[in-house]
């Protein structure tokens, strides 16, 4: 509220100053538009209840703001879920060698804060003989895979019955029709109840204003995905919604050097993910909690 009023006051100030100087330069006009836009932006609705034209206006506004902030030509997409598509993911525990190329690719793709090294994917080095993650560690490095260890990767499992969606008091997070659990970054009030509710440690909070070097920004952005967020809001893996809705694989799947990650449409009986679910002995992490994750694990 205060921010909005301050911005409004600034807009009035700029306008007044410009009037006083007698000429309205293009820069002034732009500034006036920008602060007016931000003022409007504060009062916008929750993305999930907007009309189509409101969504388009919001996306346009975000694209403009991003282009002002970064030198690259940011393109903001608002692509919708596709009928007949439900995304699923499989992780081959026999193949992963813990290189964390997936983590690196994810960070480069999704514009996370660099100062705090925010990472959506957690790779855990596990002791052979147990599946208890408490006996594993994410704090590992190696050149060659050590004996007696295997690697367990986890990120948002895009649950069909997501506890994070249930607990959000303002409905800022919801499950889209293609199964991706998304966040309206401007609607989130930062209460972090979803972070307490998630059994997979999937959600990340911006404890400070995120910062990315200009040249590292990924310009292909989605309003519900990898647009650059602000402080005080929650974010998480979205199965690279900006890529997956364009028919591409998420960055982690592309980057994996051993082909341990498989992604596809659960509603397509010919897909690799369906082949795996039908032919491999798969399991899901913390299945007993009833979250119905769309992320399966298997071994060869």
């Amino acid at each position: 509220m205060v921010k909005g009023l301050a911005v409004g006051a600034a807009a009035i100030g700029v306008g007044a100053g410009v009037m006083a100087s007698g000429t309205i330069t293009e820069q002034d006009q732009k500034e006036r538009e920008m602060s007016g836009d931000e003022f409007d932006g504060y009062f916008k609705k929750n993305y999930r209840v907007m009309t189509e034209s409101e969504r388009q206006a919001t996306i346009a506004r975000f694209e403009l703001k991003a282009r002002e902030r970064y030198s690259k030509a940011i393109h903001m997409s608002g692509s919708l879920a596709e009928a007949g598509v439900l995304f699923g993911y499989a992780f081959n525990l026999s193949r992963c060698n813990g290189s964390r190329k997936c983590v690196q690719a994810c960070v480069e793709e999704n514009n996370q804060d660099r100062a705090t090294d925010m990472q959506y994917i957690r790779m855990i080095e596990m002791e052979k003989g147990t599946f208890d993650v408490e006996h594993g560690t994410a704090d590992y490095d190696h050149v060659e895979v050590p004996d007696g260890k295997f690697f367990f990767g986890t990120q948002c499992h895009q649950c069909e019955n997501p506890p994070c969606v249930k607990v959000c008091p303002v409905g800022a997070t919801w499950k889209e029709n293609d199964g991706i659990v998304v966040i309206d970054y401007d609607w989130c009030v930062g209460c972090r109840y979803c972070q307490a509710a998630c059994p997979y440690f999937a959600r990340r909070f911006n404890w400070q204003e995120p910062s990315i070097a200009d040249e590292e920004v990924n310009p292909d952005q989605h309003i519900l995905g990898n647009q650059v967020r602000s402080k005080g809001v929650m974010e998480k893996c979205t199965f690279c919604i900006q890529r997956s809705r364009e028919g591409q694989n998420p960055a982690c799947v592309e980057a994996c050097p051993t082909g341990a990650r498989i992604f596809g449409n659960l509603l397509d009986p010919e897909s690799e993910i369906r082949n795996i679910l039908a032919n491999k002995k798969v399991f899901r992490f913390k299945e007993e909690l009833g979250t119905e994750p769309k992320f399966w694990y298997f071994m060869d």
Binding site: E82, R100, V143, N177, G247, N249, G259, I276
Partner: protein
């Protein structure tokens, strides 16, 4: 009675029931033209017996024989010289060059009576590594080159596994996680 129903209607309209989400678009299938373009770009070879599965072409990535040997026929059975003898072979103890390269022409591979070219080498690998071959067809072994929507083009076996020296080199880790944020380090009173 009327007052109660008005009250309930008001309450229900104000609260988050109904679970609205943005609508889905119609199906956006990939066009045949796009599909054909992708297959051409990757020089994809259809996998025999498995419709809808292509393997990345291999022969276009290798040098043609004529690039080194010119157009002259290559003399064979030269005493003291092994064809392409500089290639280090470390693939199972019992294997020799002729195990796979069954013909005088190195580009022709085979097992039993079957003959395959370099683009179909996956058949050869699968003749011994049959479980991996099955997994290759299934999708749990190997790497897909195209997105989930495009035609299913996978990398050939030899794209990752050097057939002469298949064991993997070490792959060092990267992107070490910051489990405890920097701003909170050094807070703990008596910890290492």
């Amino acid at each position: 009675m009327k007052l109660e129903s008005v009250f309930f209607c008001t309450v229900l309209s104000l609260v988050g029931c109904g679970n609205p989400v943005p609508p889905s678009s119609e199906a956006r299938p990939i066009s045949e033209g796009e599909k054909a373009r992708t297959l051409k770009e990757l020089k994809a070879i259809p996998v025999e017996g498995h419709e809808g599965l292509w393997v990345e072409g291999r022969s276009h990535q290798l040098k043609k024989c004529t690039e080194c040997h010119g157009s002259e026929p290559v003399p064979l059975d030269v005493p003291g010289k092994q064809a392409h003898g500089d290639v280090k072979l470390a693939h199972a103890k019992f294997m020799e060059c002729s195990t796979c390269h069954v013909s005088e022409i190195p580009a022709v591979l085979g097992f039993g009576t079957k003959r395959v070219n370099l683009d179909q080498s996956h058949h050869l690998c699968a003749s011994c590594h049959n479980t991996q071959g099955e997994d290759f067809i299934l999708g749990s072994h190997g790497k897909r080159m195209t997105g989930w929507k495009g035609p299913r083009v996978v990398k050939s076996c030899v794209a990752c596994h050097d057939p002469h020296e298949p064991s993997f080199k070490a792959l060092p880790t990267m992107a070490h996680p910051k489990i405890i944020p920097d701003r909170l380090k050094g807070q703990e009173p008596d910890h290492e």
